[in-house]
């Protein structure tokens, strides 16, 4: 180790050198400190070593000492910046804080309602519902295509047997009619 003037630090006792550096930085325990102090009282080389540490080490790592006005300004500027940032972030939150409890559910309800109404209007649901409500016909008939078809065909069903009888009779009449026509033509 060398100091700034180039004078080397004189060596301490080999066993104490490391402890003396810790002693300088006040990083020793009470018992070690007492032991080192007892040794320093007897050893001039180690005393000289500690004196050199006191002289040389502060020059090697000088503490940056900033003037008090700098710290005052620094503090003032930091506080001002924080205030400005808080004000900039929260201007809209101040307005929304009272609404915060019910804003989300209210928005959700309105959105659902608007969505459902738009869907129904788009498909003409309102029109068809109001126009086609039939209080006389139960819903189970309205939703069943087979039932609807049954009631639509009710008149045919009522006269189905008659229609079939007529249908059976008609070809006979037709055939007898053609035979009589043939007879007339032949005559």
């Amino acid at each position: 180790m060398e100091n700034r003037e180039g004078t080397p630090l004189e060596g301490a006792c080999r066993n104490y050198e490391e402890d003396l550096v810790l002693y300088y930085y006040a990083e020793t325990g009470v018992s070690e400190r007492t032991m080192i102090e007892q040794h320093l009282a007897q050893c001039s080389r180690c005393r000289k070593f500690v004196d050199d540490l006191v002289r040389v080490l502060p020059q090697m790592a000088p503490k940056p000492e900033l003037p008090q006005p700098f710290w005052n300004d620094y503090f003032r500027e930091t506080v001002a910046k924080l205030d400005e940032q808080t004000a900039r972030q929260n201007w809209w939150r101040r307005w929304l804080v009272p609404l915060n409890g019910w804003l989300v559910p209210a928005f959700g309800t309105v959105a659902i309602a608007v969505f459902a109404i738009a869907l129904m209007l788009e498909k003409g649901h309102f029109k068809s519902t109001t126009e086609t409500v039939s209080p006389n016909i139960p819903a189970e008939v309205l939703v069943d295509s087979n039932q609807l078809e049954f009631f639509k065909s009710l008149e045919i069903l009522e006269s189905l047997s008659t229609l079939e009888q007529q249908d059976r009779a008609q070809p006979e009449r037709k055939s007898s009619h053609t035979e009589s026509e043939r007879g007339t033509q032949a005559a």
């Binding site: 959700g108 659902i112 969505f115 006389n136 609807l148 639509k152 045919i156 069903l157």
Partner: protein, 87 residues
């Protein structure tokens, strides 16, 4: 997160109910006013029929459905002709 999930569930239920209701009433909605009126009149008449006639008409309906399509068309045509003749 909880609110968003709730919102999605509600939207899903609305869509489900809406589509279900739409599908249920589709056959009725597709009918024209004349057909609807006819069905309404026939239903009211059917309601007043005695149970035996109702049963007979149900049997006739089953028989009608079992008929081939051309036979049905033929009978339908005859029915229309007969009705026009009455008018």
């Amino acid at each position: 997160m909880k609110t968003r999930n709730l919102f999605l569930v509600v939207i899903g239920l609305v869509l489900l109910l809406e589509s279900g209701a739409r599908a249920d009433g589709d056959d009725w909605r597709k009918l024209n006013p004349k057909e609807k009126d006819k069905i309404r009149r026939n239903y009211e008449r059917w309601e007043k029929l005695p149970p035996r006639d109702k049963e007979h008409l149900r049997e006739e309906w089953d028989r009608w459905n079992r008929m081939p399509q051309d036979r049905r068309d033929q009978l339908k045509q005859r029915f229309e002709d007969h009705r026009r003749g009455q008018d």
